[in-house]
Symmetry: D3
């Protein structure tokens, strides 16, 4: 990290980092990178479940960042994020950025049938009405969700975290092919294929009206005798992945590497996934993975940290420097 | 109920009632009063905790009411309410009313210290940004919360539900006095005193920085040898009430009737309260009370239903008739 | 068309149809279906290019629909749409619906690189700030664009127009396969495959930084000796389609049927497309196709009309009846 | 006052103080404290009563404060405040703070009967729509009014001005008791009781439908042979106070000290109040008290100045330093 | 008045007329025309000048009109208008129209020098933020002020009231010429000249920095030996008119008829104007003229009533019928 | 230009100039004056006419200016301006100023007949919804258009550009008189008359319903044997000017100097104007005049540049210094 340029430091006041209760480790890592201390705040829950927030020090005119992944318990964490944002606004913060490595409700992003919500838009509206001036997140389920906000944001890609690791293991892969478990992820899969100078195949599945039972049906493309990089944006209970791995094996795929950005891993997902004939599970810490969950996977689980990237983006946002330039864009 | 006037029926389309998952019985009672069937809707929770709503039938141009108390689990219920509102909006409902008998976060209604939120305002903003055109509720913690909304609302008073019961038992009371357990409720206590043509006294307590330990200190006013109507807007874990009853007894009060609108009754509240030397607990069903909780109180618990009043207010809202006139106001 | 129910007719005033200059035929067909006359309006262009609109009759309190596809000249047509909306608003229309069969800028729907716009969101904002209360359109480039609007809308699918025709020709197809020319359309391609009870394949191409030169590279899936239903949402200059057909033929596909919703057909597109070895071009009239363009294709061009569907949706919007029910949804 | 830190000085541009015509002395005192000169502006009233404002110098990018109490003539002063705010906005001020020591319409803060306004919310909306970014005020009638604003504000308490004076006279008080003239002020009264380590009592009065005739009825609590600190937030015509003093004397109170933040003192209030058997009237200058009014009270009137506190808060707002820290909060 | 069409009557609920305190007679005349009774409301002013409004009956879903000219006392009347609008909104009125025959601050409609307000925009914003859905007014100082509102409005022209009277007296005029006292009114003067099939001339004056001293300098155009129709939109203290008449007489004009829409007539305006050698003063009742003011003019004052026109426009707004059609437009 | 004060330089980040495609030369001149380089950006137009913008470098926190005149092709240029603004907003620009020397649709600024738009308000709304924080422009058709914006702006007057040239030629003018070709410009004409210490006359014309045929009828005021300064805000096809010159010559005017701010000069305007007996055409470069257009006029065309003034205003806006002070205002 280069020494801060004092002139630019004044654009937006000082960086003030606030950790939500959902992302304590990540928040600490970010603070460490920036050489800062997390700002003191109390977060209490009353017996009636209502949350209460109190900041230890004034943030008048300062450049504030609330770090909170909206993972389980999803709605408490979301509300805590919103309350912290409003508290900062009412204390006359200079600028407030919601740093939400995993943004909930991303899969409710369109009306693919009548009379259903677009909850991702509702979440965007809530973050804005609470008072956020900007947001930062990783890998929205659909890039278009960025258009649900009328405030600017930095939508980072876990791909930038994962790619050096993938390049490292690439020489050991046997005629690899990138496979997506969902057609909706097909275009994003191409980015991995380009990185590894290899081809693409798809698991074609049907998402039925029964929400827990997506039946994968076939593989489109060639996977026989090839190592497979099976990619998706998030893995939840692992249902799709179980079907995907099964079918890949039926089509004589060799080693399978499961790659995903957001380790939601809810319910019995960790156990089901760990039982699969998968060589490695490669993911990030946009969502914290508890030691209990990690135990299922043993050393087959590789978790790459987003903290340095996120810290650097926060620094650049504060100094008015390009984020795109970090990725040669 | 008078026969609907067909001419007015057209002001706002037909009444469409939607029950949130937090208020099933109340919703059914309202539907019964109105001679309607609750509209079909699915509310699902995915393994990642995200909620999903789907309406069975179109609500284009209709006058929709979502009935949902924001009780435990508070944040799921609040989010479900918001999602239902947005779903109705996206399906082109004619008008959407959030019917929230108990509105959460009412006690976070002002900044009585620096660097804290006004979460009740945030909740009002969320309800509005989701798409509600109006709201209905009972007994806001402070009447001023109505000013947090920029949409109109009907804020009903449980007093109108309780008063006939109180008048019924009044002849049996011995020189009664109305006591409030919180100075902030002092002015509302006066309404009960006027109803019963009697006086007022107050429990004066100090709410310390330790949020669970409000120490009541004394009684201001005369309670000796008098039956006490101990009133408050909501009762939660009962901490304040335990102290209030203790002190009232120290000051030689006779029978104590505990009267409150919102039976939050969280944690071990039902047990603690039921153990008190209280003759009757008189409340309403703005929040459902489970059979398990009811069991603690036995027949000392009197729950008066808000459903007919709420149904009549919905009818009047739809027909464009006065609600105030119901109370001779 | 069933006889209008007079009671519901009053929900939103009378239907008033306004034709923008971009969609005259479609507007007439809609008016015919509804048994109405298009409302008189002048649209003038001054020598300084500024547009001017004047309505012949008052629309106070009426339910107004402005029918205007945002095709070439795109920006004049968009501005004309906005001005008509504002004019209706200033004349106190009861409700204003922007009926835009083809909504421009759909492909600018996300930031897939830094420092670029999300113009589809800007267009949504413009339609709303002009005063529209609702919108209707066909096949947004991404379903998520619906989340760019905070007003409700009816996003119809050309698939419902095309499917009966496809079922009609299906018996004559030889072992058909549905192929998408763009991975982003993969999931929508599945709907066609389900209709025809057949499989899916994909053209995998790379969109390079040179915007006019997308190089298709290979076919993923099996097309050999099969009739191909080549589907996409819109066809513009036909560049992608030329590459797609070429590769399909290299992979020994049999007859090719090109199916697309929006016939943009700009520049020399009609000529280039007509020269391809394609058996039929099946599309709709969301965008008018001039006789000159039609001439290139001869009777290989099948244009299915959206007018009856759109008219029925307008009627149902006005009457407060379900649109989803038209599709058994 | 410590020397300004130049680095922080740049957060919000330079402090620019504008005096409204209602608060000339206070404005001068604030300017003196800050070592600044009030910015030149013309405020004219045309023969048709319309006001006109003209700033003498540009305020582009500067941190502007308009000091204006909304006292009599209330509506001219309110409009002047709004016009000054808009003028600053149109001149591209960097930030605009409405400094309104006394905010009018505070008592219209809730709908305690049907079909009445919440004018305090309207006033908040007006200040915001005019263009204010922040506000500062003293002792809102209800703390919840802060939630009527969606902009942040500093709501200061006159208690911090009065407390050192009260502590100074405390040793001379005989077994003092704090009495509130209005039950709505009961909780605020407790703060005074805590300061003086003494008890509380209340005047219980009924506000009847006749707005000028609140009939005080009794004293709740013990005042006999005690010196009374009679506290309220504002005193207007003094009607309530006349009744309160009368009843206190009937209950054999000793010396009475009348303490209030906002000296509205309208109509014949000064005369009526001055005739009461009150030892001291202790208030602040949130509202200027004319020499004519002061004459009624003689040296029994103690007016403590808010100017230094307000000036310090302005300085801290500009420098991004904590205001809460001034009160050890 | 034709019998109301019951079908259209339902578009917006029933007409509910509310009279502000500034326009009692006009309100009664409108109610008479419509065969309605003014809705009961209390308007009180507390000793602290704060206004209070209470509606006697519910207006839920009804089509409400608040009739209030913003004349002296301007700011009380403006605030009363705003409070009535908010009260109606909070009582869930179906639609609220501000009927403001004379809208204050029209002359503060642009920044013709730096650092001044555009108060007419502020007033428009205030009316909207209070909750008005529409507005009605007469002769804005500049037509562009209509663009300051984002809600629709009916801006009526007093010309339509005056023209039949002018045509009646026209045969008796000697070679008449229309003269405007202000160049800004030049284009509007032309409408009068066209009506009377005659020419135009202008008083050319300089508005100096001294706001009360506009020095008229000369007449541009021919007035010698001609009867003069001297037109303006409003007359206040009459300063411009005194100069205009003086110069017209110097240029040997014959009889002078002074024609203006808004009789502001503040301060000593009535006396100064009545002393002028003017044959008739022809105006309307957009602003009430007190008997005292009328006495100065005797029978030289002709006041034409806007009430029937305004009532008919209200009726048409409620029924969804054209207003423009009333003027063959 | 004085050396920038580094302290003030930090108020709004660094100046970043972006040239729209409509104003390349002007943009370069502004950049030269400020010693800056225009920021790199791509503006592409796809075959479907949709525009695309990409910024070469990050603008986070910087003070951005988009320079774009909304001239022909008007709607492409307007849309390009809006897209550039949104792109800057999404890239987290610190402040965005739309620099639009000529703002289109200025003549659609009021409803002078029923059922027409106020398109200038729509354009203002569009600029704001795209994300502009401020705007700069020259000579709005009506000063009131500034009130259509709720963001602040600098509306500069071409008069300040033209006046020194006019004073230079003044000694050679023979008894000059200022004539306006449109009564709506009468008050602005006075400013020129004051500059030259001379009188005013007016061309009185009727704008008929046929939009291209304004029939000038007469001259009001004295032009015989006088040199004429014929002034207007913009000249388009020159229709009004042809009539004006014709009538002036009929009334025996001597030399005619045509003075106008905005050289729209559309269609055959240049040719028609150049054929008139006019001594000089004096205008500015708010709109670029192509060499082809210039050729018609030869050296009778005098184009005075706004670039230095605009550059200085941008500098002052960035530094927080007065613009009004440049004109001794």
């Amino acid at each position: 990290m280069t020494k801060p340029n004092m002139q630019h430091d004044l654009l937006y006041g000082k960086i003030k980092l606030f950790a939500g209760t959902a992302s304590p480790e990540l928040s600490n890592e970010i603070a460490d990178y920036l050489g800062l201390t997390l700002c003191g705040r109390d977060v209490l829950q009353y017996p009636n479940e209502n949350l209460f927030v109190r900041l230890h020090n004034s943030v008048r005119g300062q450049d504030c960042y609330v770090i909170q992944s909206t993972t389980a318990p999803v709605h408490e964490n979301l509300m805590e994020l919103l309350i912290m944002i409003q508290t900062l606004k009412l204390d006359s913060a200079g600028r407030i950025t919601a740093v939400v490595p995993y943004l909930c409700y991303g899969r409710s992003d369109k009306k693919d049938q009548p009379r259903v919500p677009i909850t991702a838009r509702l979440v965007a509206d809530m973050i804005q009405v609470a008072g956020a001036d900007r947001y930062m997140t990783f890998d929205l389920h659909a890039g278009q969700i960025q258009g649900f906000f009328s405030i600017p944001g930095d939508v980072l890609r876990g791909f930038h975290i994962l790619k050096s690791y993938l390049l490292e293991i690439a020489p050991n892969l046997h005629n690899p092919v990138v496979v997506t478990a969902d057609l909706g992820f097909a275009k994003k899969g191409r980015v991995y294929a380009q990185l590894l100078h290899t081809g693409l195949a798809f698991i074609e599945k049907m998402r039925t009206s029964d929400i827990n039972n997506p039946v994968s049906m076939t593989v489109i493309g060639d996977v026989k005798d090839r190592d497979v990089i099976l990619v998706d944006d998030e893995v939840n209970t692992g249902g799709s992945m179980v079907h995907a791995v099964e079918i890949l094996k039926q089509h004589h795929a060799r080693d399978i590497y499961m790659v995903f950005i957001h380790p939601v891993l809810s319910q019995d997902g960790p156990q089901r996934l760990a039982e699969l004939p998968v060589k490695q599970y490669i993911t990030t810490n946009t969502i914290p993975i508890s030691p209990e969950k990690r135990a299922f996977f043993g050393d087959r689980l590789v978790v790459l940290s987003i903290s340095n990237l996120l810290a650097e983006v926060i620094l650049r946002a504060n100094r008015g420097r390009s984020v795109g330039a970090m990725f040669n864009e």
